[in-house]
């Protein structure tokens, strides 16, 4: 039980060399990465983020997802019990050459970011017919 609980907690992102001007905590979102025939799908849990507050950037080989969360304590309320922290999200991935960079698609729904990374033509699985030699 204790182990399972630990896995469900939000993980703070490892500190990077570049410092931020925004004084907020940064969490590393949990992701699923699924390989399909035509593409690779990346799904990230980023509650509090919508299509306007998420940034996907591709710099050389590095794909970075960043989500800004502007949720604060509602006015007039005070916090009495806290189990999860509120902050921004960031995580980076290194892409291989297999991805067709121009055709990456991103969408956000209910706090979940979905990225579709299409495979480049050259690497799509091709069936090679085997000829019988007579």
């Amino acid at each position: 039980m204790a182990v399972a609980a630990k896995e469900l907690q939000k993980k703070e992102a490892s500190t990077k060399e570049v410092e931020r001007t925004r004084a907020r905590r940064i969490y590393s979102p949990n992701v699923d990465i699924i390989e399909r025939d035509e593409d690779i799908v990346l799904i990230a849990d980023m509650p509090g983020v919508d299509d306007k507050s998420v940034d996907v950037t591709l710099d050389q080989d590095v794909l970075t997802i960043y989500g800004r969360v502007d949720q604060e304590i509602p006015e007039g309320y005070r916090s009495v019990y806290t189990e999860y922290g509120i902050g921004d999200y960031e995580r980076s991935f290194t892409l291989s050459d297999e991805i067709d960079r121009d055709k990456i698609e991103a969408s956000v729904k209910n706090g979940v970011l979905k990225l579709i990374l299409p495979k480049a033509e050259a690497v799509k699985t091709r069936k090679i017919p085997v000829k019988a030699e007579g």
Partner: protein
């Protein structure tokens, strides 16, 4: 007297001592992980003088997937999240996201007006506003001057 006690190792076993410390540490640590979010989903609770606000992060759910019920001071949140549907030939490179059913009950700091509870779900965050029961609200007592 003192010398004798230092010299006498018969009832002092350093290994046993280490074991005892280890055991105590373990107990301490397990209590710690239990405390910070032993259950899913994690919740935050805020209050003002006549409302409580409970927020929880449940990304990827639809409003219809969540069930909220109240009995007395207890608020229960239930729901489930489906795993990604994989077709043949598709495979996971990474699977970190959680899926399955959850049920979480938390005790509120006061009784609430169950019919006036409002819940909002947006961007994967559920916020439940619970008005404090009328009878329990703090009353202001006016002071009369004679």
């Amino acid at each position: 007297m003192l010398w004798r006690r230092f010299g006498d190792y018969s009832d002092f076993d350093p290994w046993k001592e280490i074991e005892r410390i280890h055991e105590r540490m373990n107990r301490l640590l397990s209590a710690f992980t239990w405390d910070i979010g032993g259950e899913y989903p994690p919740v935050n609770v805020y209050v003002n003088s006549d409302h409580a606000l409970v927020t929880t992060e449940v990304p990827g759910l639809e409003a219809g997937d969540i069930e909220i019920s109240i009995s007395g001071k207890n608020l229960t949140i239930r729901g489930s999240r489906k795993a990604d549907e994989l077709k043949e030939g598709e495979s996971y490179h990474r699977q970190e996201r959680w899926s399955g059913r959850f049920s979480r009950t938390i005790e509120l700091p006061f009784n609430v007006e169950a019919d006036k509870v409002e819940a909002k779900f947006s961007k994967g965050i559920l916020s439940i506003t619970l008005p404090r029961a009328e009878a329990e609200r703090p009353k202001k007592i006016e002071i009369k001057t004679e």
